[in-house]
């Protein structure tokens, strides 16, 4: 991402503030089982960063997003969300093409054309009503399609959950994000900030559920993220991974006469 000098100073100031905020509280409490899950060898680091992100979120992003949700009328927010969603269809098309899905890529481009014209710059999602399904693709998924495994779960400061593969994807994604090519820099940063706030505001209902439903918020989010990524790569139809511990207890306790080890095998 290209930042002008003034924006860079502002960014550094924000980061410094965030660091102070984060350091005023202790780091996360790490449970003794941390690091034992094979998908998350970096769990100790990840938990600390997640805790940091939570604090920054609570101190800075959430209040702004809350104000946005409270004071901006719902149709306006929906329009804003749709406009950014429309912009995102451009990298969607690109990634669909890279994944060998030309039909989906063409569909994405049609969506952009229809929504930008008839849908007034994307404010109205006319294309979905016309039957053109929305894709959700990014370069991390493209890498997954090409055969890359996810690599360890990895939480970025500020940016949130990721994996090694998805992080590579994200870097590439910066170059395919249309917002990155908007000049002047002030406009680009304003757009970027608006998108961030809009997305954050849309997460409030989910957040309430997670607070209640999760025994361990970190693990809940991690596992949901990893499952979601896997599902996205297979476009909603991932092959089933059988957990060997899921073997059903069909036999009652009083059936020791069926040895399951065949000697000599």
């Amino acid at each position: 991402m290209r930042l002008g000098h003034a924006s860079m100073m502002r960014f550094l100031r924000v980061t410094a503030l965030a660091a102070v905020v984060a350091l005023t509280g202790a780091c996360a409490t790490i449970p003794p089982t941390a690091g034992s899950n094979p998908v998350d060898p970096l769990e100790r680091y990840n938990r600390h960063v997640s805790e940091f992100n939570d604090r920054v979120d609570r101190a800075l992003l959430k209040p702004v997003a809350q104000a946005y949700a409270d004071y901006v009328p719902s149709p306006v927010r929906e329009c804003v969300g749709n406009i950014f969603s429309n912009i995102a269809d451009v990298p969607n098309a690109l990634n669909n093409l890279l994944q060998g899905k030309p039909a989906a890529a063409v569909s994405d481009i049609c969506r952009v054309v229809i929504n930008t014209t008839v849908g007034v710059l994307g404010c109205f999602d006319v294309a979905s009503k016309a039957g053109l399904e929305k894709s959700e693709e990014d370069f991390g998924q493209t890498l997954g399609r090409w055969g890359s495994g996810p690599g360890p779960y990895f939480v970025w400061p500020f940016l949130g959950p990721s994996t090694i593969r998805d992080s590579v994807g994200r870097v590439v994604g910066f170059y395919t994000d249309p917002l990155d090519y908007v000049d002047p820099v002030r406009t680009r940063n304003s757009l970027w900030a608006t998108r961030l706030i809009d997305t954050r505001a849309s997460l409030f209902p989910a957040e309430k559920v997670i607070e209640g439903a999760a025994l361990d918020k970190y693990q809940f989010i991690r596992d949901a993220y990893l499952q979601r990524r896997r599902s996205l790569i297979y476009d909603g139809n991932p092959p089933r991974e059988r957990d060997p511990e899921d073997e059903p207890e069909q036999k009652p306790a009083s059936a020791p006469d069926q040895p399951n080890a065949v000697p000599g095998r």
């Binding site: 500020f158 997460l203 693990q219």
Partner: protein, 229 residues
Amino acid sequence: MKSVSIRNMGKMKHLVAVLAVALFTIAGAQAQGTAAANAPASVTAQSPDALVLTLSNDVLDAIKKDKTLQSGDLTRLNALVDEKILPYVNFEKMTQLAVGRGWRQASPEQRQRLTKEFRALLVRTYSGAVSTVKDHQVQMRPFRAQPTDTDVLVRTQVVPSRGDAIQLDYRLEKSDASWKIYDVSVLGVWLVENYKSQFASEVTQNGVDGLIKALTDRNRQLETATRKS
């Protein structure tokens, strides 16, 4: 910069609403009405995908018509779940899969408590999202299974009046003559899978009783929170 991962998680807002639908579909809520008395027998004799469709539509209808359900009345929700749930969902299997290795170590009494508390947690947590499913519609996706299969995947999608469709899938198992749901996924995130790590951690650190306590405490916490509001 948070766009990619947050956008992916951004659909979590739908996860809330749709998981509520799934839960009540699992709960087997039957719409009030003429067929209610005879419904259980005829419904369980259906094929798994027909079963899911019937239940989903019944749940959505019940929610659309009942204002108290829409406002998240917990007593009403629990009543519905208690009455209609047992024939259609296998909460015990769901809990067993989520608890994993700990289940084998647990006594029948502990297993009962685990199932009870897990179910309570799910109902309590997702009931708040019920009011948002007023104008959703369920569509079935292609169902592929052999007639001899005893464990199937039923795929649906829930379409709101505004916004993207949400993928909602169910796993059902055949026991005796009837099909029962034992897992549900929203946007590719399976419920059982998502609790496995948390439950396993708790069991490793504090044993099965520790897990029961954690669930019970959380339920009590949520109940006090609901009472206050």
